[in-house]
């Protein structure tokens, strides 16, 4: 086989197979790096001092009890937090070494590179076709729009189900299909990173399995960060896992989220370094 024509990720996969193991974290480039990240909602510090590196072409999972700030951290990675007026970010988030909160950075451009799939499927109340074509249209992406739409829907494993009804409303699809439509919509803008916030929490097990399979496909082309409250899901799909928890803040009774441990998924689930992580992944802690 001519390895020169293969994409870097496939080459990396081949190397991994030769070694007889999964991708080795630390082998690839860092896409997103958080350094001492703290997020405030008004005076309330929701998370503090988060430092971790997201590596390209891996699936990185954020797990932890609800309210520990997983969503909050995720939304910092593509500046979705800007939409919440009272939210304020301290520390550094860099993307390929560029400070995302630096001077002159346009959040709109950030979101084109770092797409997002939300907890509840939220297709636009428009046709399936328009749902997918909206992003590339406003981004001014060149090329035949029909092709872009088809390709995106194929990548999202939805094409066969909707190819005859592209003019129908995206709302007419089932929950699982809607979520894949949202993934197609995200892919259509040709992002580099896809952020997923509990993308399966509103779906049944079969739809969930489809999305999980899809994620394995997608990681060839994208780097994925997924928030999940489902530990089995994190164990099944992710290469790296970050375990967050909420600790009682110095003052007041509200809890601040902290990063407890970040390592390969295998390590987190089989041999974690922190007792808190072990208690959580073995189900001894809520």
């Amino acid at each position: 086989m001519e390895t020169a024509t293969l994409t870097p990720i496939v080459q990396r996969g081949l190397r991994a197979r030769e070694r007889g193991g999964p991708f080795v974290p630390g082998e690839g480039r860092t896409v997103i790096e958080m350094a001492d990240l703290s997020v405030y909602y008004g005076d309330f510090r929701a998370v503090r001092d988060i430092s971790l590196k997201v590596e390209e072409h891996l699936i990185t999972a954020f797990i932890g009890p609800s309210g520990c700030g997983k969503t909050t951290v995720l939304r910092c990675l593509n500046r979705m937090n800007d939409l919440i007026e009272i939210a304020r970010v301290e520390g550094r988030v860099s993307y390929h070494g560029v400070d995302l909160y630096g001077k002159g950075i346009d959040p709109v451009e950030v979101r084109r590179r770092i797409g997002m799939v939300f907890q509840k499927p939220n297709p636009f109340p428009k046709s399936i076709y328009d749902n997918v074509s909206f992003g590339p249209k406003i981004a001014g992406i060149e090329g035949d729009m029909d092709e872009i739409v088809e390709l995106s829907l194929r990548k999202a494993a939805l094409w066969d189900e909707v190819k005859d009804r592209l003019k129908e409303s995206g709302m007419s699809l089932s929950g699982g299909q809607q979520q894949r439509l949202c993934i197609a919509r995200c892919i259509a803008v040709q992002p580099d990173v896809i952020l997923m916030d509990e993308p399966c929490s509103a779906l049944d097990p079969i739809a969930t399995a489809r999305i999980e399979d899809l994620m394995q496909e997608l990681k060839n082309d994208y780097s994925i960060v997924i928030v999940t409250h489902n530990m089995q899901q994190a164990a099944r799909v992710s290469d790296m896992t970050a375990f967050f928890t909420a600790e009682v803040a110095e003052s007041g009774d509200r809890r601040t989220g902290v990063l407890v441990e970040y390592d390969t998924t295998e390590k987190i689930f089989t041999n974690p370094s922190e007792e808190g992580t072990e208690n959580y992944v073995t189900g001894r802690f809520g």
């Binding site: 593509n78 979705m80 939409l83 007026e85 709109v108 451009e109 979101r111 084109r112 797409g115 997002m116 799939v117 939300f118 509840k120 939220n122 297709p123 636009f124 109340p125 428009k126 046709s127 328009d130 909206f134 992003g135 406003i138 981004a139 409303s169 949202c182 919509r185 995200c186 259509a188 803008v189």
Partner: protein, 308 residues
């Protein structure tokens, strides 16, 4: 295992429920009574107007719509100037109050930061919608008739139209703002999530989703403007005779005017029995116009809703 007959009987007895739900039945009856009462008032009103005016309308037909104001003979009295005047003033409502009101609502809901100042403005717009219309008439008199006389020409259709536009402006803002607020945030997030600017999110997703609601608000305000009388009397809507010659549109705008409700008012003041019928006929025309405007807006709204 099959359920033994005795168990079945017990379950059946339990499921069949107990006594008659007296309170529930009574409450339902009361509600129905309220509905019937309001309906009967409406029907009596309509019947009274129809009985009085239908004769004139069937007899004179189209002629009643094209005949001018007349205070001496009921046979020649019509509502032409009223229709023309109402339409002229509506032009101002549509061209001024709608874009201004919707624009203000979009700014307040989609752009303005949530500060004490914007909340203050929100509350005040609500208060403005509750201000009695006669106060707007006084404002129109002071502002459009007096201060801006060189532009409006004094007591003209322009002044009347501007007054109505100001009067319905808060209603347009409030209903549009409510329609925008009803658009779920998840749609905005979806738009921002694929790299849309605020303007793109508003134009492509928020406004289309809110459009039916905004349209309903504009219909309400048109109906309100069509029915207003008191403020127009203050800014000089004529209750007597006015020319119906073949003037140009601009000339008509800058001359004395009357509107359908003011026509009704002027006919209602006349003592003769004949004019009572004319009054009823004019009311029917006014109601028909309002119904027509509503119908058009509903058709438009339905078409818009189905568009995607």
């Amino acid at each position: 295992m099959a359920i033994s007959p005795s168990t079945q009987d017990v379950v059946l007895a339990r499921l069949k429920g107990r006594r008659v739900d007296l309170k529930g039945v009574l409450f339902e009856a009361l509600l129905l009574l309220a509905l019937l009462l309001s309906l009967s008032i409406l029907i009596t009103l309509m019947a009274d107007v129809l009985r009085g005016g239908l004769g004139v309308l069937t007899e004179r037909g189209f002629g009643f719509l094209t005949a001018g104001l007349a205070t001496f003979s009921a046979d020649t009295a019509g509502v032409k100037q009223g229709i023309v005047g109402s339409m002229l003033t509506l032009v101002f409502v549509v061209l001024l109050a709608f874009p201004l009101g919707i624009g203000a609502a979009v700014y307040l809901e989609e752009y303005a930061p949530d500060t004490t100042f914007t909340r203050f403005i929100n509350v005040n717009i609500r208060n403005l919608a509750g201000v009695p219309s006669i106060v707007y008439g006084l404002l129109g008199l002071a502002l459009f008739v007096e201060v801006f006389r060189p532009l409006t020409g004094g007591t003209t259709a322009i002044s009347g139209g501007l007054t109505l536009a100001v009067l319905v402006l808060p209603i347009v803002v409030i209903t549009a703002a409510e329609a925008l607020r009803a658009v779920p945030d998840s749609i905005r997030e979806a738009g921002f999530g694929v790299g849309a600017t605020r303007w793109e999110v508003v134009r492509s997703h928020v406004l289309p989703s809110a459009a039916p609601g905004i349209l309903t608000g504009t219909v309400l305000s048109i109906s309100r403007a069509l029915g207003e009388t008191a403020p127009l009397l203050l800014v000089g809507a004529i209750t007597g005779y006015i020319a119906t010659g073949g003037q140009s549109l601009v000339e008509q705008m800058r001359s004395s005017f009357t509107t359908l409700p003011t026509v009704v008012y002027s006919y209602a003041r006349l003592p003769s029995q004949d004019f009572r019928e004319v009054t009823s006929a004019a009311i029917i025309v006014l109601l028909a116009v309002i119904l027509l405007v509503n119908a058009i807006a509903i058709v438009l709204r339905n078409r818009y809703e189905r568009k995607w």
